[in-house]
């Protein structure tokens, strides 16, 4: 297989999926590749009591109940809308579910302010239309229509970034499960095959920008993905993703557990400070999600590899954190400056060790911004 920068989940975990399919003896809904229980095992990892003769690693971290709700929704008549703050793993969960259920997670429509109905339904190959006229062969089906035709899961990223009229194009797809093509005289309806459903994601910070219509809302089951605040779970996620990153870059670097603790504690403190802030100016713009922690570690690792001693250092981690979180100048800078001198300094005084380097690195990074 040609090496890919980022392989989709069904490719990356092809071996696990094939194994799970081989041992899956329970009933599968529609044309699903795996039964719901096996989908859950694929996403959340296996346990001893599952009776498998190999271990399936956990790929998404969070409440098991959320995954169960998502899976049963996809087996029902309704679409699935994953909603949550940025960096909570919505798209990753959607990709894993699509890979496990239908073996294809690439049928994706990316919602933007410029997304049009054509991107959801179909477009035309203009040259072919001019040459041969409108026919099915000159039609370019969207990923969503492809999913309908093949009985697979279509993914719709950032649904609430699209305007309302574009969103409402999904109503007939989710309700009637077909798309009419009025331009064609014959054979002008594309029916969805069994197994078709849709996973959409929406950013809860976009709430109110392009609110879903009531008709569309009732065709989706909402699953709220919360920010992970459990320290242990968060640590597992960061370790998992960083492992993935190192593997991808073929780096051999050890992230000291003490340093990881410093990062987790700092984010926990930042969240607490953000919650206690009285106004938006006093809190960081960032959602302080787990994804941002991963981003910070990634930056620190890359910096260490290319410009440092090929190790991850506390100062580099602090610099990466400041670089990641400062988005508005001077507001974010002011917040971080205050935080650094009030909280990080105290922690360094109390614990020393990695905190000292972290404190110094952060101050240096803040001074550079100033």
């Amino acid at each position: 297989m040609t090496e890919l920068l980022r392989a989709p989940a069904e490719t990356k975990y092809a071996e696990e999926l094939a194994y799970l399919a081989s041992v899956d003896d329970t009933r599968r809904p529609f044309s699903w590749c795996l039964s719901p229980k096996m989908v859950r095992i694929f996403v959340l990892g296996s346990r001893d009591k599952d009776g498998l003769d190999r271990t399936i690693g956990q790929k998404w971290y969070g409440h098991a109940a959320l995954v169960e709700k998502a899976i049963v929704t996809l087996a029902s008549d309704r679409g699935l809308l994953l909603i949550g703050d940025p960096g909570t793993g919505k798209s990753w969960l959607a990709e894993l579910l699509a890979a496990a259920i239908c073996g294809n997670s690439t049928l994706v429509v990316q919602g933007t302010a410029g997304t049009a109905e054509d991107h959801i339904k179909y477009a035309w190959n203009v040259a072919e239309v001019i040459a041969k006229g409108q026919s099915k062969s000159s039609m370019i089906p969207s990923p969503m229509m492809t999913a309908m035709i093949e009985g697979k899961l279509g993914r719709f990223e950032e649904l609430t970034r699209c305007t309302s009229d574009v969103q409402d194009a999904l109503i007939s797809i989710l309700s009637e499960k077909y798309v009419a093509i009025p331009e064609l005289e014959d054979d002008n309806i594309v029916f969805a095959q069994p197994g078709f459903n849709m996973i959409a994601t929406a950013n809860s910070r976009d709430r109110g920008v392009n609110e879903l219509s009531s008709a569309l809302k009732r065709r989706f089951n909402y699953v709220q993905i919360p920010i992970v605040t459990n320290r242990r779970a968060e640590k597992e996620i960061v370790e998992f993703r960083v492992r993935d990153l190192l593997q991808r870059n073929q780096f051999e670097v050890e992230i000291p557990p003490a340093l990881l603790e410093v990062l987790l504690q700092t984010f926990a403190d930042l969240r607490a400070a953000s919650q206690a802030a009285a106004s938006d100016d006093e809190r960081l713009e960032s959602a302080l999600s787990t994804a941002e922690q991963i981003g910070v570690v990634e930056d620190a690792v890359l910096h260490g590899q290319f410009f440092g001693a090929r190790t991850v250092e506390a100062a580099a981690l602090a610099q990466a954190l400041v670089g990641t979180l400062v988005r508005r100048i001077p507001e974010d800078l002011t917040v971080l400056n205050k935080f650094w001198h009030a909280v990080v300094q105290e922690r360094a005084k109390e614990h020393g060790g990695a905190w000292d380097g972290f404190l110094a690195g952060g101050k240096q990074a803040l001074a550079l911004h100033e």
Binding site: P36, K37, R40, L44, R47, D48, K49, H63, A64, A65, E68, K69, I71, V72, T73, A75, S76, D77, R78, I83, S204, R207, S214, K217, R218, F220, N221, Y222, V223, Q224
Partner: protein
């Protein structure tokens, strides 16, 4: 299991456990050893001659089997794992509506860290508590004795780690919501309950939940313990509970918890053996109801009745010296969940299972009925011999399954499950619609389908309430909650909702009974659970005044508890209301608040008196607290002797005041009290006169420091001066000297530097005649004209305006200065000043604004005349030249002077006579148009009345001589 009846686990079970160890463990021998130990624990627990009945708190399975066991076996002696000193209270349960909690309360702990105070222990009881079923059986069955065998409440705290926090509940995965008042019913009390079946060792619990793929321990408990055992036979139930207890004690408990369980075991078995010996009861005729963890034998030497070892330790009967008070408080499902760390709705779901089970097996649970009718409850004859089962026959006990079968097979399905789920799905859609969700029949179908799918995914044969709630939330929750309740809350309400208990009249402390008795005219009894809107018309029903007074006292003592909330009516000194309206509620959290008052005294008045005294005589009490206590005493208790004591305390504290921090509040209260007593036939009491005199002396002497101290704000300084000038007459009557004040103000002039304080100082100097009106006017004019001082003019003026509170005669000048400021100052100075000025005036609405507004109304023209209007001070300037900064005399007259002037013009005879007598011509000038009066009523000057005036002066020459001296040339 063939030999289940003998109580010994079969070798097949042990063999099966070994097979489990082989299959799942890398260290087969160690795992097998643990599993075999657990099997041995079960064997020993069931082989004990005294029936050990393991239960879990608020477990429907435990309660169902308890009912079945008690009805079948009718034991004579019932030992319960509850604090032994709570036993005398339980008879009060007859009068209560469940859930309620047995409470022990100590306000002044002895021998415990002071930060633990007040100490409180609660043991909540619901109908579905196995312990309640046992208590009800014990109390309602003749010949049965109930014995609580656990350590006393004192030991609950004595055995705690003194460095630990006694208020931290056992951690659970997700705490119940505490946003509801009923969830906070237990306050900060430490909860004790029988049968805490929950691993406290966090790692063990996490592994347990992760393997089961569950979020909450209660979900695990429902699936692996409740469901398999609720439909099983009682023997199997005991086996399962003993095994789970053994597992959690050996692997799932922290070392500290294990040690505490062991100590309690030693205590309880000692008590059990002592009681059996004293009552001469065969252990086979008794039952020991305890948590499942207490079934483990090998850690406690005293365990079992087959040995006669007793725990002889000084610790066993030790006491801390704390005085405990006992009683009941209302409880609720929400409070139980919050206190014991259960997820929201866990007890509601347990109740759903309990109702379903008793219906399925036609069981009649034990219940207590009111023993005798108190004043607050309808009387019912006490029953003996236990409640009679209803006509329907109890279903036969299910066949013995045995531990192996429960461990191996899922519980059987019942026919009712399908219909029940459909019912839930349709009802939740209706309920969601009522809460503004867009829910339809299609949603009901989706919820049903999702529930089934979730249950299958979670390896359940039928959807549990947890699955149903998750399904409903998935299908109906759409990002934002449209009403006040989210879907999860609506589901819990639909499945039974929270229940709030009520403590019955007979079980209440005397104070609370007294409250109910005295509120009886309003229709409020111990059975009243809703808010009562009391409309009182004292003209028609004067007897309600007593209720009103009680409600004001409750309102004062429990301001946050919503026990008594006045809707209409105020409590003011000297005011006698004719009508009042109240919202009164003494149920749930409110009843608990009143009950806690009951632990502090016998009557509301006694508690109130104590609280007032405590507030005034607290070690760090301030003058305001003592004065407030004195005022509250007059308002609420009308006891002048106590008020005097409190007032004297306020006088003492006032002498120790170091600054004017509380001057505003002190002045407000003192003025209110003085005004009240001046209108009272008894006059101002001595303590209050002393207070005013002390305040005058203290505040007057503090003025130089206050004017100079940058930490004293102009508002505080204004309050000090307000006190001094407003209450001056009373202070002077008490022997104070004005010279003290004058000297202090003279000294203050040397210290004041802040513009606002200087403005205030100039006004003060004017009042004590250290400066005259023109002097003040000129000083302000100098500030305004000075290029560097102009920008600060608003601050000087703000200070001057503060003086209006105690110097209304400054109002005309204040209006003039305001006029000058607005005409001269540029916008860049005026605009920033305006918000501050308005805010300051608003704060002084009652003191400053009346005189200011009156003067403004007098000075300013009507709106239509504004175009041609010239301010009097500007007109004066034009006519008198630049040097004159004064205003015409007529303009500067205050309201009082103007009235005098009019009076003299109306009746000029006396004045004319005086003028003639003094050798002057009596010529009356024309009145200014603005003050024009009806001159046609002025009597003409005639020789007759001139002669009469002369006669008057001759008869009373003293006044004339005084006038002559005044007008003498050269003076």
């Amino acid at each position: 299991m063939s030999d289940a009846s003998t109580g010994s686990p079969t070798s097949a079970l042990v063999e099966e456990l070994r097979a489990v160890a082989r299959a799942f463990s890398a260290d087969e021998a160690a795992t097998a050893s643990i599993l075999e130990t657990m099997a041995e624990d079960v064997r020993r627990a069931l082989a004990e001659p005294l029936t050990i009945f393991p239960v879990a708190h608020h477990s429907p399975a435990s309660a169902v089997h308890m009912v079945r066991f008690l009805r079948a076996r009718q034991p004579k002696l019932v030992f319960v794992e509850l604090c032994e000193d709570l036993l005398p209270q339980v008879d009060g349960l007859r009068d209560c509506t469940l859930p309620v909690a047995l409470q022990a309360f100590a306000t002044e702990p002895v021998g415990f860290p002071p930060e633990w105070a007040p100490l409180a222990v609660v043991a909540p009881l619901t109908e579905l508590s196995a312990e309640y079923q046992a208590i009800a059986y014990g109390l309602s069955t003749e010949g049965v004795e109930l014995v609580f065998v656990d350590r006393n409440v004192d030991a609950v705290f004595r055995w705690m780690d003194p460095d630990g926090n006694p208020l931290t509940p056992v951690p659970d995965d997700e705490a119940a919501g505490d946003d509801d008042d009923t969830a906070r019913l237990h306050g900060e009390a430490v909860g004790v309950e029988i049968g805490r079946l929950e691993p406290t060792f966090a790692e063990f619990r996490d592994v347990l939940l992760q393997n089961a793929r569950m979020s909450h321990f209660s979900e695990w408990n429902a699936l692996y313990i409740e469901e398999p055992t609720i439909g099983a036979d009682t023997h199997t139930y005991r086996e399962v509970m003993a095994m789970v207890g053994s597992l959690f004690r050996r692997l799932g408990s922290t070392p500290h918890d294990r040690e505490e369980i062991r100590r309690r075991d030693r205590f309880m078995w000692t008590r059990i053996k002592q009681t059996l010996a004293a009552r001469r009861v065969d252990p086979k005729d008794a039952v020991f109801i305890c948590g499942a963890a207490h079934t483990v034998a090998d850690e406690c030497p005293e365990w079992g009745t087959t040995n006669d070892r007793l725990w002889e330790d000084a610790e066993r009967d030790a006491r801390s010296g704390t005085t405990w008070k006992y009683g009941f408080i209302p409880s609720s499902y929400g409070a139980i969940e919050l206190q014991f760390g259960h997820p929201r709705g866990a007890v509601t779901l347990a109740e759903t299972l309990w109702r379903k089970a008793i219906a399925r097996w036609n069981l009649v649970p034990y219940a207590l009925e009111a023993a005798s009718g108190g004043k607050g409850t309808p009387a019912k004859a006490a029953k003996t011999g236990g409640p009679k089962p209803k006509a329907k026959r109890a279903a036969p006990e299910p066949e013995q399954l045995g531990l192996r079968a429960v461990l191996r097979d899922p519980p059987p399905l019942t026919e009712a499950d399908e219909a029940e789920l459909i019912g839930w799905c349709t009802r939740i859609v209706g309920d969601a619609r009522k809460h503004r969700y867009l829910a339809s029949t299609a949603d009901a179908i989706a919820i049903y389908e999702t529930s089934i799918l979730l249950a299958r995914m979670r390896s359940r044969r039928r959807p549990s309430p947890f699955d149903f709630i998750d399904a409903a939330e998935t299908c109906l929750e759409k990002g934002a909650v449209p009403g006040r309740r989210d879907i999860r809350t609506i589901c819990h309400a639909m499945l039974g909702g929270d229940r709030v208990g009520q403590v019955g009249y007979a079980s209440l402390p005397p104070l609370v009974q007294d409250v109910y008795d005295r509120l009886a005219p309003l229709g409020i009894t111990a059975k009243t659970t809703k808010v009562v809107r009391a409309l009182m018309d004292f003209d028609k029903q004067p007897e309600l005044r007593a209720c009103s007074r009680l409600l004001w006292r409750l309102h004062w003592m429990l301001p946050d508890a919503r026990v008594a909330r006045p809707i209409m009516g105020k409590l003011e000194l000297g005011s006698v209301p004719r009508q009042e309206s109240w919202d009164v509620r003494i149920s749930g959290p409110e009843q608990r608040a009143v009950i806690e008052l009951g632990f502090a005294g016998v009557t509301v008045e006694q508690v109130l008196e104590r609280r007032l005294t405590e507030a005034a005589f607290a070690e760090n009490a301030r003058t305001t607290a003592a004065l407030e206590a004195a005022e509250s005493c007059l308002l609420l208790l009308d006891r002048s002797r106590l008020a005097e004591t409190l007032g004297e305390r306020a006088v003492l504290l006032l002498t120790r005041e170091h600054g004017p921090d509380d001057a505003a509040e002190i002045f407000d209260r003192a003025r209110r009290l003085v005004h009240h007593f001046r209108a009272d036939p008894g006059g101002v009491p001595a303590w209050l006169s002393r207070f005013v005199a002390t305040g005058y002396a203290t505040y007057a002497s503090s003025l130089p420091a206050a004017f100079g101290d940058r930490g004293t704000s102009p508002a505080q300084l204004g309050a000090v001066l307000n006190f001094v000038f407003t209450l001056e007459s009373l202070a002077l009557a008490m022997g104070c000297q004005r010279s003290q004040l004058v000297i202090a103000i003279e000294q203050a002039a040397a210290h004041a530097a802040d513009p606002e304080k200087l403005g205030l100082l100039w006004a003060t100097q004017w009042l004590v005649q250290l400066r005259d009106e023109n002097g003040v006017r000129e000083t302000f004019a100098a500030v305004l004209e000075h290029p560097l001082g102009r920008n600060a003019f608003p601050r000087y003026l703000s200070g001057f305006l503060r003086a209006l509170a105690f110097a209304p005669k400054a109002a005309p000048l204040a209006v003039e200065l305001l006029g000058r400021a607005f005409s001269v100052l540029p916008d860049v100075v005026l605009l920033p000043w305006m918000p501050g000025l308005l805010t300051a005036l608003r704060e002084q609405a009652s003191d400053t604004l009346p005189s200011l507004m009156k003067e403004l109304a007098r000075t300013l023209p009507a709106p239509d005349g504004l175009g041609q209007w010239t301010p009097p001070w500007a007109a004066s300037q034009r006519s008198d030249g630049a040097a004159a900064v004064g205003v015409p005399v007529a303009r500067s007259r205050s309201g009082g002077a103007d009235a005098t002037h009019r009076l003299l013009r109306r009746h000029p005879d006396a004045t004319t006579a005086w003028a003639h007598a003094l050798g002057h011509d009596a010529t009356w000038g024309a009145e200014q148009p603005v003050h024009a009066v009806a001159d046609d009523r002025v009597a003409p000057v005639t020789s007759a009345n001139v002669e009469a005036a002369r006669g008057l002066v001759r008869a009373h020459p003293e006044s004339a001589l005084a006038w002559a001296e005044v007008f003498a040339p050269g003076r």
